[in-house]
Symmetry: D2
Subunit: 183 residues, 4 copies
């Protein structure tokens, strides 16, 4: 059997592809920031960047990025066979493989990530909208991948915020208990 | 083995439960209408009602309705054990079983239905919003079920519209071909 | 806007691709037959063929077939960029985009289809096993697509069998009622 | 707004419920052990126990356990309304809400977890089979939850094993490189 591709290579390739296609971690983190601010007013960009970066460490999203961007690029070079070439080129509303691939990696962050993905897919904010307008480039798969990463990173923050809140609360309870004991 | 519950009984029970909890087919069809009008300006309410009704004929959504509304009602009567009682009562953001159950039946209508479900879950329009405000009733599961039915019915119309368009086009092509032959 | 690709063209292309890659409807129907026989001993191959054919009429699976087989063929011709080329070529256990794409179309047939898909994916029976052994061809995506079609067709038969049973039962009830009235 | 239920409380309740219904972490870990041994012959029970335990730390599975076992228990006490009572009691093949709830938490561990879940759901090994036979208890939801936890824990080990392998390999590469430099 052939040796498997080292994960490091896969991760570096996925990150490089994203950048080459004009999407930075900061672009995605901006969407995360806007998504989470209503629930978490003191959120900082650093936290959104950190969370986006953590999502990109997951195998499922790395593989999805490699497959999706490959198909976008092949479509740009007119190297897909027909009728797939036309389907990808025109990003038809009923062609759903792009959403399916993106959904595959969003599930990992809970159902809150799935609904956020659906919302972003309809609303097309920030870089997702820009990608849509960068003609004649083809971003049929990439815009869904970006929605997926942003939705996952936002859900990840929501989960962690909750954990943090509770640890603080537990700490307060413990502190009080200790004081009670001392008192 | 016990005889299985006849599907007719299941379907009638699911439809009755929806109505008892204050959700009519027309309420759901209104959401479908608003969702589809931008893409299909001549859409009629009748078509939305017909599509909503067709979605309710599916086993997966009927079962989801029976389970979801049962849990809402048990929570209202304070008959769930703790901590589930508190989780359902407060409809916590990180409690996702309501979305998971609703998602299970939305998948049947393609990825376009999944993303529309996510959108409705965030935007909370029409009856979905009303349910949210009908305190002290508990609609933790029902609002997701309504989003699921509306998203499925809208996706169903999108798929059928496309089929209809193409049959018309095929008919036109055939007509032209016949005329060419005659001419 | 470009005119969308007619569905007929998409369907014909998907069916042709399957055949070109050495998978017939009968191959898939054989798996369906073996899956359903334990629950439905009088099942006939005709019904399995009809159900497999009906699954292939669905847009979601047609799109999945076109994307999946394209990636298999590109990998065979060494035309994917690295490291995707190596990932697809070696069909690594942790590369899951093939399952994700196949899962996307299996959801439409209920959760019974999803679990059957998982079972076939592990057990690799019939043509699924053969594909695995037809080296040096690459069938990383195709074997999952075949599992998806077979699982969907089997679930479809299970649902219809139930409907048929119940109509018969309802007919019997009605007949009895009519006889009661006459008698 | 009511204060949310502390996660610790949710986690403890979920673990207690599992135990009360006769399922220990060791029971689940045994399934994980059998699943992974073919791919990883030197696997130890400790690792399977640790992985099962880690899966139980996730919110999604905790919520699924609380909802699923509640429904099983209510059905045992005949406290569900009809026809849901009969559907859950008889664990009908076409009733899929049990699988849907279990699937919701399995997605988090990649598509390999989803297919393993489907396999376990069909094969019913170990404690999953026992649950099926412990009549007159009702385990319609619990057997799927156990399959979900075992599938997730097995997938988690597969992913970690790979990471470990690669770090070893990277270490070896580095060691060689250092030796080259020294040499």
């Amino acid at each position: 059997m052939k040796k498997p591709v080292p994960c490091k290579i896969v991760e570096q390739a996925a990150r490089k592809k994203l950048e080459e296609r004009g999407v930075t971690i900061k672009d995605i983190a901006s969407i995360v920031f806007d998504l989470q601010r209503p629930y978490y007013p003191s959120i900082q960009m650093e936290e959104c960047i950190e969370s986006t970066d953590a999502v990109l460490c997951k195998r499922e999203i790395q593989h999805a990025i490699l497959v999706g961007i490959e198909l976008d690029e092949l479509a740009e070079k007119k190297q897909l066979s027909e009728p797939l070439q036309s389907l990808v080129e025109s990003d038809e509303g009923l062609f759903g493989v792009d959403e399916t691939i993106a959904l595959g990696s969003v599930f990992g962050f809970g159902s809150i990530a799935v609904t956020t993905f659906g919302y972003l897919d309809k609303q097309k904010v920030g870089i997702i909208k820009e990608l849509d307008e960068r003609k004649p480039q083809i971003h049929t798969f990439l815009d869904d991948l970006v929605s997926s990463i942003a939705a996952s990173a936002a859900a990840r923050i929501a989960h962690r915020l909750r954990d943090r809140d509770e640890n603080r609360r537990l700490d307060e309870i413990k502190k009080r208990e200790t004081e009670d004991l001392i008192g």
